[in-house]
Symmetry: C2
């Protein structure tokens, strides 16, 4: 087992630990009980985790104050109505501030559970137990919580850091192949923004990753956490540096909305990474064939690298204007200097890109 | 005009200003525009403020990005559904992080607008413009936001400090008499927990307060802000000291819920203050006739000092067990040592009181 500590300036605890291992689920409830003696534990999960047997493994014979099972799981449930239902379920259990929320599941469960924890009685601790490639690499770690609005992704939410994170790579064994593969796009993103050596490691070990080799998965989890922790520690509330984690996400989120969430997040980010690469080329930031290497890796993962025919490109362009990073209705993009290093302009990591360049790239994608 | 600065440890700005004066409304939008250049301004208010002409005074010929009018105003609208509607209205205006929320109204508007601001795009600034006796004394100042659940008050919310507060005592002129009087109970509470001299000032000047004398109202507003700011600065997220602001609120909130929100918040806190006084007597903390003086002041304000006959006392007792301050289902109370000073036990400001004492006091109220 590996433990990575993440510093969080400005929070009471100041630090939390990410534990990475295989077969961790069974001991979490008692560990949390030791960390929060006399607290009630409330579980938030989704129906897929129940079916896969992970809830049973986690809860075992432990007594918990209550649980909320998101049904159906997935992006369509990630909204204020579900968060409200979770909060009312916690109220119905007569829980107080001495409650710790356990979030067992993928990004949707983790984002909503974190959001619910952050507003229940004005904030109770949450322990994240991510069970998907995407949440283990990304959403469970950085303290961002939230839900979608009727028009955009993650429109409403909070910054709320977990009291602890458990990354159990054994939980990935039951994940369906499409989810498994698309979630790995966040790992690709981490290599691109921060660690060229990690990019090469992934190139060499991608077959083992696809075969769900636990030793390689633990190595990947550790590298993801280190990349993400380093960024989040320096800029917990996304004033500037943290925006690098949005690489590929500006176009990615717009495509996701435009697809009516038929495409998975990682698939959309794959398209967004290619879009960012083409914007970099259009802006003269590229001197080598890096985009070819990146596209090749995404293809090996079975990810789309072009805009699917059924996506309305005009709608994508419209959605870019309501992006959270937009200032005065001009979308801003995170771009690469080279693999492993993000481009900056006047100290800013999210840079303005002319509408003509953006529409040209979207049009040609 | 008076300006009081409130320090808020752990926030980016570290401080915000409360401006107290008469006839401030007309200049706020342009002042906020100078403080947040290039930001969109979104107004949250309620229909009573529109009818009273205050929205017109505030907005004038300024252009704003949009507005949400809570309808009907009041506690019945203070729930997740209204917050969700506010957030979706902001999304519909295609607002980004460069948005500042203006909250014009009483506690319900301020609490919901603060909550909405704290979660919109994971947090945008809010400027509080309280227009009632209760919000000017209390809710607009301390950074607490929230809504009610189906079973308890302020069950869900955040700590989100205003970027600025404007207390315009002229806005009180249009407030209806019952609201006006009940809101003054929070001022009485401030005298009790922190400032014996202020209690005597109120005793001497209560007739002028009731006549809405602006000079006296500005003095009262200043004293309220100083009491509240001092407490909030020392304990922004209510670990301990801040609980003193809940004096009278433990029973108060329970009565409010049990009344189906037919009683106003201040009226319930008046009953809660008397209940706390009787608990103090039962616990041997009282050596003088202070409760008589307090009851007299509450009566001069036209506030109830006994449990109304239509309130189910058993329900009140049940609700006390789900109080946010409860630990292990035993309610805790803030109690007075004397007028102007809160009782502590082992360094704690919220102390456990035996069920027998509580049920005896509730039963006899």
């Amino acid at each position: 087992m590996k433990i990575i500590e993440v510093k969080v300036p400005g929070t009471a605890a100041g630090v939390y630990a990410i534990q990475i291992g295989s077969g961790l689920l069974g001991s979490i409830v008692s560990e949390v009980g030791r960390a929060f003696p006399r607290y009630s534990q409330f579980l938030i999960t989704d129906s897929a985790l129940v079916r896969a047997g992970h809830v049973e493994k986690l809860v075992g014979s432990n007594s918990m104050a209550g649980r909320y099972v998101v049904e159906p799981g997935g992006e369509a449930s990630k909204n204020m109505a579900t968060v409200t239902a979770i909060l009312e379920a916690m109220e119905a259990c007569r829980l107080g501030r001495d409650t710790v929320v356990l979030a067992l599941g993928g990004g949707v469960v983790g984002d909503m559970a974190g959001f619910a924890a952050s507003v229940f009685k004005r904030g109770v601790p949450v322990v994240q137990i991510p069970t998907t490639t995407i949440s283990q690499a990304d959403s469970a770690i950085g303290g961002k919580t939230g839900v979608d609005s009727s028009v955009s992704k993650n429109a409403f939410g909070t910054f709320w850091y977990p009291a602890g994170v458990y990354v159990d790579v054994a939980a990935l064994a039951t994940l369906d192949e499409r989810q498994y593969r698309s979630g790995l796009v966040e790992s690709v993103k981490h290599t691109l923004i921060a660690d060229a050596e990690y990019f090469e490691y992934l190139e060499r070990n991608l077959d083992k990753v696809l075969a769900r080799d636990e030793a390689v998965l633990m190595e990947v989890a550790g590298r993801n956490c280190r990349v993400k922790a380093k960024v989040v520690e320096k800029d917990p509330t996304e004033k500037n540096l943290r925006r690098v984690l949005n690489y590929g996400h500006t176009v990615g989120h717009a495509v996701e909305s435009a697809s009516g969430f038929e495409l998975l997040h990682g698939e959309c980010v794959a398209i967004g990474i290619v879009a960012a690469g083409k914007i970099e080329e259009a802006m003269g930031l590229v001197k080598d064939d890096r985009l070819g290497r990146i596209e090749n890796m995404l293809k090996r993962l079975g990810q789309p690298t072009q805009m699917p025919a059924n996506i309305d490109k005009v709608r994508v362009f419209e959605l870019l204007k309501s992006d959270k990073k937009a200032i005065g209705q001009v979308a801003r993009f995170v771009l690469l200097e080279r693999i492993g290093r993000v481009h900056t302009s006047k100290g800013e990591y999210a840079v303005e890109v002319g509408e003509a360049v953006v529409s040209g790239v979207i049009g040609g994608l």
